[in-house]
């Protein structure tokens, strides 16, 4: 019966991984959620997603990779930032709304304090010539960084060539026609959603 033994063994390793997550979830407290997200909020230099995975999957074992990707995709399709939406979704799954509050406060606190300090410094010393030279470089770098992020996101999330038309129309509506973000979101958003209306063949590919 080698087949049965093998399937038993693989069932065992799967179980132990699932068990690891189950135990970690049971031991999660509001305080431990706050601490985990506080550490992510204080160390995630240059983009928060890899630090979220490291903290939540690898260190805390609160979710496995599959659930992490699922939570991330919910986070990305809702308004709000990835980091804060993740904190809400996972905090809520672990400890209800109190866990959600602990997560979002933790992940926001370090950056908020830092930016409060940076803002105060800039208000007093912002017109010092050397601060101006530096900030010109920082702003230019940030613009390049943003454009790279948009390109990478577009490559990953656009599924149809025609989607580029929606991207272009959105940019024109906001920056040229000054239609405003809410109206653009409503009009172009609805058009794009109807363009991707549920087709039979796509329904099957959802389950693959």
């Amino acid at each position: 019966m080698p087949l049965k033994a093998m399937s038993d063994a693989s069932a065992n390793t799967k179980l132990s991984e699932a068990e690891l997550v189950a135990t970690a979830r049971q031991n999660a407290t509001v305080l431990s959620i706050f601490k985990a997200f506080l550490i992510i909020g204080a160390t995630s230099f240059g983009g928060v997603v890899p630090y979220l995975r490291e903290g939540l999957v690898t260190k805390c074992h609160w979710v496995d990779d599959k659930e992490f990707v699922e939570l991330l995709s919910i986070s990305q399709s809702l308004p709000g930032l990835n980091a804060t939406n993740m904190a809400i979704l996972l905090g809520d799954r672990l400890k209800g709304w109190l866990g959600a509050v602990a997560g979002i406060v933790g992940v926001c606190l370090p950056g908020a304090l830092l930016m409060l300090g940076a803002g105060m410094f800039y208000r007093v010393h912002g017109d010092h010539p050397y601060v101006t030279y530096m900030l010109k470089g920082v702003a230019a770098a940030a613009a390049g960084l943003l454009l790279a992020t948009v390109i990478q996101l577009g490559k990953k999330s656009l599924s149809h060539r025609f989607d580029l038309v929606f991207v272009l129309v959105t940019v024109l509506a906001v920056n040229r026609l000054h239609l405003g973000v809410p109206k653009t979101l409503l009009i172009v958003g609805l058009l794009a959603i109807f363009f991707h209306y549920p087709r039979k063949s796509e329904k099957e590919s959802v389950n693959q």
């Binding site: 995630s44 230099f45 240059g46 983009g47 986070s75 399709s77 809702l78 308004p79 709000g80 930032l81 990835n82 804060t84 809400i88 809520d92 959600a100 992940v107 370090p110 950056g111 908020a112 930016m115 409060l116 803002g119 105060m120 800039y122 208000r123 050397y130 030279y133 530096m134 900030l135 470089g137 920082v138 702003a139 230019a140 770098a141 940030a142 613009a143 390049g144 960084l145 990478q152 996101l153 656009l158 599924s159 989607d163 580029l164 929606f166 991207v167 272009l168 959105t170 906001v174 920056n175 973000v181 979101l185 172009v188 958003g189 609805l190 794009a192 959603i193 109807f194 209306y197 549920p198």
Partner: protein
């Protein structure tokens, strides 16, 4: 003092525009904070946003400085300024947090709804467009000549070709800017 209710209204509204990322709300944020309420100038806003790229955590934390400045300016009190910063964070993250909580709980039901996929795919293109629109309006203030254009292009190409920590590239931009603009 009476800046507080305005700040709450403005940032709760901006909160709901952050579809796809914080930058989607940037054109509207620029319009409201610079043209309508005169809390900052355009270049101050872009500077604070860019410095924010060096801070850890969610990347729109520069909103704290807007709240701080708006109240600090109006009341001439540093302590009240801090309250302004705090209020802005709650207003900016509260509405989307509540939405995430509700949708997160209903997700298992939504998962089987055929239109969910249509909404996700449709919104993907619009949110890329909104982020691009935000990026372009920010770049209009940030890229003003050959030097800043060169720094932006260098960062863009490095990001597309190599895996580098973005915070390091922003630091690199600070150094390049200082050397380039420093009086010789």
């Amino acid at each position: 003092m009476n800046q507080l209710p305005i700040l709450v209204r403005v940032f709760a509204y901006l909160s709901l525009l952050t579809v796809g990322g914080g930058m989607a709300a940037f054109p509207e944020m620029q319009h409201l904070t610079v043209n309508v309420h005169h809390w900052m100038t355009s270049s101050q806003l872009v500077h604070m946003y860019s410095v924010g790229q060096l801070a850890p955590g969610p990347n729109m934390m520069m909103i704290v400085s807007i709240g701080d400045w708006a109240v600090w300016e109006a009341s001439a009190s540093k302590a009240l300024g801090i309250v302004g910063g705090l209020i802005v964070v709650v207003a900016f993250f509260g509405p989307t947090a509540l939405l995430a909580l509700i949708v997160g709980r209903a997700w298992n039901k939504l998962d089987k709804w055929p239109w969910r996929r249509s909404i996700q795919q449709g919104l993907a293109s619009v949110s890329v467009g909104l982020l691009l629109a935000g990026t372009l309006s920010m770049a209009k203030t940030a890229v003003t000549g050959w030097t800043t254009g060169g720094i932006a292009l260098a960062v863009l190409l490095t990001m597309l070709w190599r895996k580098v920590n973005p915070a390091l590239l922003v630091l690199g931009g600070a150094i390049a800017g200082t050397i380039a603009f420093m009086p010789k």
